[in-house]
Amino acid sequence: MKKFLILLLVVVAFGCAKKYVKPAEEAPKPAKVEEARPQDAKKDVMAGEKVAPMAAEAKKEPMTLPKETVSVKEEAVFKDVLFDFDKYDIKADARAALDSAASWLKKNSAVKILVEGHCDERGTNEYNLALGEKRAKAAKDYLTSQGVSASRINTITYGEEKPLCTEQNEGCYQRNRRAHFVIAK
């Protein structure tokens, strides 16, 4: 059992392990996040939702919600909150969307919501379920910190089990790393 041929080689190859994942994962992020948006818009057009001119993208509430959305009018308030790979902290550029969601929730105090946490396919299934839960809870915590009652917000994780898209590229991975909001009926 002891002589695994590759053992030593791997230990050597791993010497500089700390360096390899981080730069690769994080350096290209800002550019790639931008890429994801036009794709969202395109997908909605293809999905047969209201054919909006590309300018609609610049509006406050782009229609980035998936088809199963029950009431688009209400849920258009809730933009997906996107996360970095293997991270569950709310990024600075996600705060504006969460702030407007929080103020809408405060105006519509009878509404309860479910926050779904999702991941891209690159992580492993079980860890992604835990990560998705952390993402959903991070979004919930942000909303409660803005004065929304915690009792109005439930969370669930789907990890990588219910992806929005299945292409193997960063644009798709980014769309899947999200907290998604659904109005509870």
């Binding site: 059992m1 695994f4 791997v10 230990v11 791993f14 293997d86 835990a130 839960e133 669930i156």
Partner: protein, 413 residues
Amino acid sequence: MKEVRSQKSEVRIFLSVFCILYSVFCILTFAYAKVYIDITSPALRKLPVSFIPAGQAEAKEITEIVRNDFDFTGMFSPVDANIPGAEVKISIEAAVSGQKVTASVAVMDLLENTEILKGKYTAEKTSLRLLSHHISNEIFKAITGQNGIFRTRLSYIANISGKKELHLMDWDGHNDRDIGSRGLIVSHNWSSGGDYLTYSSERNKEWGIYLLTLANYKETFLFSSRELNLAGGFSPSGSIVFSSSRDGSPEIYTMNSDGSNVKKLTRSIGIDVSPAFSPDGSQIAFVSDRGGTPQIYLMNSDGSGIRRITFEGNYNTSPSWSPDGKWIAYVGRKEGLNQIFIVNTDTGDAGQLTDKGNNESPSFSPDGMFIALDSDREGAKGIYIIHIKGGWQKRITPKGMRAATPRWSPYLK
């Protein structure tokens, strides 16, 4: 409903075969003195074996399955019976009587001209595969002195046009069937005797932990909370380890197999998930991001003595114990892809077992010689078996079928 009924009748057939196999027909003569293949040897030499069917048509079918079993292990090279070179000759003769098949098996050592095994095995005609795998086990034991894995099975999640189902198949990929599709099912694990599976399932926006009795496919609810609850493995005494976020963050817990006696073992603000009992039940491996990135940790089964065992890379998850408890296979992220690694729990020696595509969800065979995993190396994710000494790998789910997270059963009765 129809499906459930057919599964039940299959169980009945299984049991009757089991009884017959161990009845008076089994006349075995083992010769243990000589070990023909040392399966633990690092430089594995393939033993040349010839397979000769005789008698009724079923003999050919049985011989083919046995031959595939032996070929599949990567330890034997089947050779043509008409060409010299074989060191072991396996003759299988079949006789059919009514609904029953009797196979007479003789295994000869051609170098010393001695009989290694002689036996008769009877089963229902409808259970030819089971009978054949049983014969493979008997021959394998006679040749290597070790238990064969030819009657083991794997559970896994099949993705049938977007719908995920819990499936069970024989170790060679045959005899595949759906055993559960009530809600989304994840993190399934075998009990140490092979009688039960635990898993987590999402129903009505809640992740609950369930127990499936394999004899009748009856499902029992064990544990739930409003948060994420993920089933882990069993201890040899039947405790179940799992993770739950019921107190806010995913922590490791144990409970009895009826859901009682829930005990919390870890307390950290980050993620603690994917727990697995060591085969002797004394330790628990799990994944934690308490150090900043997901890594594999060990602790004693009461939650004391937590220590980290993976140090290379920033993403190490999905620990699976070898049956002797000396090694843990896990998924490590390297150069942007997931690969299977193993680490020695005592010495910390580590090794990489895969390098093509993404490879995830390692699960050891009960003899410790193979690891089942899922991989996208040929496109859609499928289930593969690899030899732990490397070199030999084989896909066992059909090409194009989306299949993931295999869990290898223990030896089955």
